[in-house]
């Protein structure tokens, strides 16, 4: 069966969408712009968690902690050490990634439930560290990140921040897509479905898990750094269980194992509370119930729904044209045999 050829409009949907996003600042006042910026931050964070939870099937609670590590790294480097932002941003991601890779090492042989518990403990330790390691993190006093310089440009206004956020988010989205279409991406899904079978098929489960954790920590770190940029001020309090609740909501409601799902989830989870400012009392209850309803009845989230109606493409975890390549190889193999 051939790959279904997507209709013409779908082939251009992504680049057109990206181009359209460039014009958002023209339509927004400063308040809406700020909300849009938060959406981009959470989309990035959501992609990170989706890679780990949706694609690689690892149930871990440390995402908010890595976001905090990234946020603090970026803020401390930029504000306390005067490092230019275009360095502290990737540095924040790298620091989170390294810590993620190290932290997962002992957890590699643990069963799923132990992994979840260990990551909760890790997350609490990180929060405790952020509060108590006052010499470095300034404790609950918080750290500023005001108007850093990015390649010479001063990122002060929400509009300027938006373009930085958009650029980084777009690049990282495409990067995630690439990874998922590669062998690593397929390895993720393999270990999600059944670790033993994956191992038997030659996939190095430990290595794949490490990559999944490190990658998602990287995304969380970058997301955290951009969060610090958007907000301008961070405190340890903001990276605990409330934050991870938000992350879970984003990926479950948006759609597990779906990159566009992370964006959809981020939009809903950020904009709805602002739009429903009057109903904030029942927000958490609604989150919890929605989460449960989605897991029970709509595990592929909204993205899954859209996929059913053809509005989103089915995700094929292979580079485009792989069928043709495989056919060619078979052809070459057959003619080599014939030549014998």
């Amino acid at each position: 069966m051939r790959d279904p050829v997507p209709p013409a409009w779908r082939r251009y949907a992504e680049p057109v969408f990206l181009f359209a996003l460039l014009f958002v600042p023209l339509l927004t006042d400063k308040y809406t712009q700020y909300v849009c910026n938060l959406v981009l931050v959470y989309a990035l964070v959501g992609i990170g968690l989706n890679l780990l939870l949706g694609y690689a099937g690892q149930f871990a609670f440390a995402h908010a902690a890595f976001m905090g590590i990234g946020a603090y790294s970026a803020a401390l480097l930029t504000t306390r050490l005067g490092v230019p932002f275009w360095i502290s941003l990737p540095a924040a991601g790298a620091i989170a990634m390294i810590i993620g890779a190290i932290a997962v090492l002992p957890a590699l042989r643990m069963k799923r439930v132990y992994l979840a518990l260990a990551t909760i403990a890790f997350a609490e330790l990180v929060t405790w560290g952020l509060v108590h390691w006052k010499a470095v993190t300034l404790g609950t006093d918080g750290v500023d990140l005001k108007a850093p310089y990015f390649f010479g440009w001063r990122i002060g206004s929400d509009n300027t921040k938006y373009f930085v956020l958009l650029a980084v988010a777009a690049i990282m989205y495409l990067f995630a897509k690439r990874i998922l279409q590669s062998k690593i991406g397929r390895a993720f899904v393999a270990i999600r479905e059944n670790e033993i079978v994956a191992q038997c098929n030659g996939i190095d489960v430990a290595r794949t898990k490490t990559i999944a954790f490190a990658l998602s920590a990287f995304y969380a770190g970058i997301g955290g750094a951009l969060f610090a940029l958007t907000l301008g001020f961070i405190v340890p309090d903001g990276f605990g269980l409330g934050q991870i609740a938000l992350h879970f909501s984003i990926v479950v409601i948006g759609g597990l194992a779906s990159l566009p799902g992370s964006l959809i989830g981020a939009v809903l989870v950020t904009i709805l509370p602002e739009a429903l400012r009057g109903l904030q009392g029942v927000q958490e209850l609604v989150y919890g119930l929605t989460l449960m309803l989605f897991i029970l009845f709509m595990p592929s989230g909204i993205a899954g729904l859209l996929r059913k109606y053809g509005l989103l493409p089915r995700e094929i975890l292979a580079a485009p044209g792989w069928r043709e390549q495989a056919a060619e190889r078979r052809h070459a193999g057959a003619s080599a045999k014939a030549a014998e």
Partner: protein, 396 residues
């Protein structure tokens, strides 16, 4: 002739529209002929909402009363209230909404320090006069900024009240501190640490109690073996209740000196469950008297008039001094109301009426912290007694 008219019609209309727009742009946001829009925000929902409506409603009651008496120079005050959930990201969103969407004239709000600090540069960048409601983080008001005013005692100051009182207790040389590991307590602790030596005192130990801790056994035992005569209790009300209750259990006698966080001393007694726990407990306060005191009748009556279904607590009084100060400044500016004029008027507040506050409000062009005085309260029986800034025996 016709051609000329035709040619200038479009540009003429354009210019007229531009002129109108330019005229509108000169009008001050949030001010109309009949209203002044004041923005307000606070933790109206979420885990900290006990510091939301109770505090903000006090200020609203003051504004309502002003409106009932005819308003300010013919204008009534309109409050736009936003929730910040005690979260910095939400607070920033709330303030942005107030400034850019609701286009308020000035803002009076903020009880959660981290959030207020996160939103601080919004006021400065957009040149909106801001009066802190009840947030106490020092960083908010210092270093001073032209647009940020506060009539609430900043965190470090209330240590001054405590230390002053401590000094005056007879036969006290050694003291200890019990505090939370957070910035709120740290700010107060470090002020005490900076100044106690000149008072001739000795700090024997500092112990920490986590927020939301439900047990203070280890802390009490440590304090007992430290030999301290007095214990500075830099804790929030729920944890202070736990601590005092455990202190009673293990026989740690005190005296204990609390911060303005525990001003609502009757509430603390309820939380601790046993009045004996507060037998030797004094708390700092920036209010003149407790809500039931006859001197406070004027303010309790306001609350009863506009919020008859709310329980009356000391929290209701926290925001009133700011409201009175704002009203006073607005009145002084007169009919031609602009943001800059309000700042100038606020700067000239001298010995201003602080409502239930135990001070007189003073601002100058160089200072933005209006109230610097506090006092110590004690619960005797079921009455709040204003002991004063120095120690005296008030047990009946």
């Amino acid at each position: 002739m016709k051609a000329i008219v035709h040619h200038i019609r479009k540009p003429a209309i354009a210019m007229a529209v531009l002129a109108c727009a330019a005229g509108a742009a000169f009008a001050e946001p949030g001010v109309t002929a009949t209203t002044i829009k004041i923005g307000m925000f606070g933790p109206l929902t979420g885990a900290t909402s006990v510091y939301g409506y109770p505090i903000n409603n006090g200020a609203i009651a003051v504004y309502n009363e002003v409106n009932a008496k005819g308003g300010i120079n013919g204008r009534k005050i309109e409050i736009v209230h936003e929730d910040d959930g005690c979260d910095p990201a939400k607070t920033r969103a709330a303030v942005k909404k107030l400034i850019h969407r609701d286009e308020v004239f000035m803002i009076h709000g903020g009880n959660c320090s981290a959030g207020v600090f996160a939103a601080r540069e919004e006021f400065i960048e957009n040149k909106v006069p801001f009066m802190v409601m009840a947030a106490t983080m020092d960083k908010i008001s210092s270093p001073m900024d032209r647009y940020i005013f506060t009539t609430t005692l900043p965190g470090s100051r209330d240590s001054g009240v405590i230390l002053n009182f401590l000094k005056s207790i007879p036969n006290v040389k050694k003291f200890a501190i019990i505090k939370h590991p957070d910035e709120w307590a740290e700010a107060k602790a470090s002020e005490i640490v900076k100044n106690y030596k000149e008072a001739g005192l000795e700090l024997v130990t500092t112990v920490e109690l986590e927020r939301k801790a439900s047990d203070a056994t280890a802390q009490v035992l440590r304090l007992q073996s430290s030999g301290a005569d007095v214990i500075a209790t830099l804790l929030y009300p729920p944890e202070a209740a736990v601590f005092l209750r455990d202190a009673l259990k293990y026989g740690l006698k005190g005296p204990f000196l609390g911060t303005v966080g525990t001003t609502d001393i009757k509430d603390l007694a309820e939380r601790a469950g046993n009045p004996a726990a507060l037998a030797n407990f004094y708390t700092a306060s920036f209010l003149k008297q407790g809500p039931d005191h006859p001197d406070m009748k004027e303010f309790s009556d306001l609350m009863r008039k506009y919020f008859p279904n709310d329980r009356l607590t000391s929290l209701n009084f926290y925001g009133m001094s700011g409201a009175y100060t704002i009203v006073d400044a607005l009145k002084r500016v007169g009919k031609d109301l602009t943001r800059e004029k309000v700042i100038a008027a606020l700067e000239q507040t001298k010995d201003g009426f602080a409502g239930p506050g135990a001070c007189k409000v003073n601002f100058t062009p160089q200072t933005r912290v209006g109230c610097l005085e506090g006092t110590m309260w004690k619960l005797v029986g079921d009455k709040i007694v204003n002991v004063g800034p120095t120690y005296r025996d008030v047990s009946n």
